[in-house]
């Protein structure tokens, strides 16, 4: 009677959620699929399965509606079963994933692949023109969404703030609020004792420049919460920190804060570095942008004034004078026209915007080799700043981006 037991189990799982007639249909379907006989259940089995009996033609009938009482025992058993099924499903998915990964590695010919490489190869193997990235083919490790039992063995929720729907968040908030209350009570006590202020030493030890932890780290601690909730947490924490006697709970509060190492020197600005060539020439590299154009420039400090763009001499690449004047202006401002060599690469866009992109990159390159005054001159000439305007799109129902059709009443 293995089949019957299976069915009974199936029904046992279902009966909580679905009406009985539907259960019977499910059993019928199940039997048809598996090719097994329809169950002839004993009375006890009927009771256990939720009251399903077949008639003499073998059709399932909903006769005695002896529903088992919803007991805690059942609930726990169900949960265990659910967990088991979940794990089995995950193991299956994982096995499939590993198999597919092996195939993919064989196709590409690599023994080990990073996720980045894997994504790239997938992009090549299954090219997709779909707009939404989520809709394109992807290859990802199956993700096991954890099922956590929120109920204790005695049937009550395991967390005392279960019904707030964000128990871990409110636990933290509640704890901080209690500490705040304690600190305030302590202050009142001290005032009643005749001490209006804590000693300056104690206060000073608190001035450590800590900040509340970031949203990401807070979410790791308390599950997924909204920014609104995070802000509320920050406000509460700041209010607690500001209290004069907050140092009594310093170590406890500090678990929600982060600290910066003030002694560490600040990060370097994005300035190009000075490199040295094989021939011993000094040079710097920088990038520039304008519209869609991108440019990378290599500036050699000691040279004869040669400028090449994409391997060609500048005059050949930019036949129009306006582009050349534009390109050379940073060198002219710093008076390095004849003493430097420039190697530029530019892609995309038109000639005017390419020249502009090279100009920005060139003035960035120059910053390393010129004095502070000259750098300021370059800045005042507007040669560092990127023109961030881009082509505005055409709108439907209009002639161009802003231009409209001529208006007619009728």
């Amino acid at each position: 009677m293995a089949a019957t037991r299976e069915v009974a189990l199936l029904v046992g799982q279902i009966h909580k959620h679905k009406p009985l007639i539907r259960c019977s249909l499910i059993i019928q379907k199940y039997c048809m699929c598996t090719g097994s006989q329809q169950p002839q259940l004993t009375h006890r089995e009927v009771q256990r399965s939720g009251g399903i009996v077949t008639n003499k033609y073998g059709e399932p009938l909903a006769v005695e509606l002896v529903l088992p009482k919803p007991s805690l025992k059942n609930y726990c058993a169900d949960f265990e079963e659910e967990l088991k099924q979940h794990e089995i499903k995950y193991a299956h998915q994982l096995a499939q994933y590993k198999k597919a990964r092996g195939h993919l590695q064989n196709i590409i010919g690599l023994k080990q692949m990073s996720t980045l490489n894997r994504n790239r190869s997938l992009k090549n193997l299954f090219p997709s023109g779909l707009f939404e990235p989520k809709a394109r083919p992807m290859f990802r490790k199956p993700f096991l969404k954890p099922i956590r039992s929120s109920v204790r063995t005695d049937g009550r929720p395991s967390h005392y703030l279960f019904y707030t729907s964000k128990p871990r968040y409110y636990e933290v908030m509640n704890a901080i609020a209690l500490k705040l209350e304690h600190i305030q009570r302590y202050e009142e006590f001290m005032v009643s004792q005749g001490i209006s202020k804590p000693s300056s030493e104690a206060m000073m030890s608190w001035a450590d420049g800590g900040r509340p932890m970031t949203l990401k780290t807070f979410q790791k601690k308390c599950g997924h919460i909204s920014t609104q909730d995070y802000l509320r947490f920050v406000l509460l924490l700041q209010k607690t920190v500001v209290q004069p006697y907050s140092y009594i709970h310093r170590d406890w509060i500090n678990q929600f804060r982060r600290f910066f190492d003030r002694t560490r020197p600040p990060k370097d600005k994005k300035e190009p570095k000075i490199h040295v060539d094989e021939k011993g020439r000094q040079y710097s590299v920088a990038e520039g942008k304008k519209k869609t154009s991108l440019a990378r420039v290599k500036l050699f400090v000691k040279g004869t004034g040669e400028v090449t763009v994409n391997g060609k001499p500048m005059v050949a690449y930019f036949p129009k004078a306006l582009d050349r004047e534009q390109l050379l202006s940073p060198l002219d401002v710093t008076k390095k026209l004849t003493t430097t060599d420039v190697e530029a690469e530019a892609i995309l866009g038109g000639h005017r915007s390419q020249a502009r992109a090279i100009r920005i990159a060139l003035s960035k390159c120059l910053t390393v080799f010129v004095s502070e005054e000259e750098r300021e001159m370059l800045r005042l000439a507007g040669l560092f700043k990127r023109d961030s305007r881009i082509r505005e799109r055409k709108k439907p129902g209009q002639k161009k981006a802003r231009k409209k059709h001529t208006w007619k009443r009728r």
Partner: protein
Amino acid sequence: MAAIRSLSHLLRQGLHLNAATLIPKTAPICQTRCMAQKGMTKPHPTLDLDALETTVTDMQSGKYKRKTVRYAESDQSTVLTHDQIVRKFIVLIMKGGNKDTARRIMDKTMEEIKRRQVREFHRATESQKLQIITDPRKIFNQAVNNLKPVLLVTSVKRGGIAYQVPVPCPEKRQLFEAMKIIKAALAEKTNSRIPFHEKLATIIMDAAEFKGKAMDRKIEILKNCERNRAYAHFK
């Protein structure tokens, strides 16, 4: 309206008074415009090398005050022949975004003016030579300054009738109007076929000496203002 009362006086004086002397100081000279574009509120940078070098001396003496600037435009450069007002005019005569052609025409015009002036310079006697300006950009600036109209007429509707009301022209618009006058003078048809740059050169050189077609147009504008003096109290 002090500006309008003194108009006839102005006409007698020779039409080249600065607008700042006429427009009362309380009146808004130009309105600030709000552009829906990024970084447009900041001032334009200068690529004039002399002006830039003053900042170096200022920094060394400690006078320097840091200020933010906009990005340099693509037609701004450190070339010696660069001139902001000429650059503006190039944009105005440009057609279909073809700035290169417009610039070439303007360069030819400047060359033409230079040639004529130098020829005159060599013909002149020693005493006259000092007075002749051979820098074409200076002549162009002078011509534009001479053509700046102090007054303009705008149509104002009162009781279903559109009146032509003379109003003082803002300083920023004067430059544009002056250039528009040159453009209109250029569009006039002539019997003989003269190249564009030669025609433009003659107009500019004439305007620098308070004569020619362009100057006639300017006087016409001012006379129109004088004619509609009665409606000056509108607006």
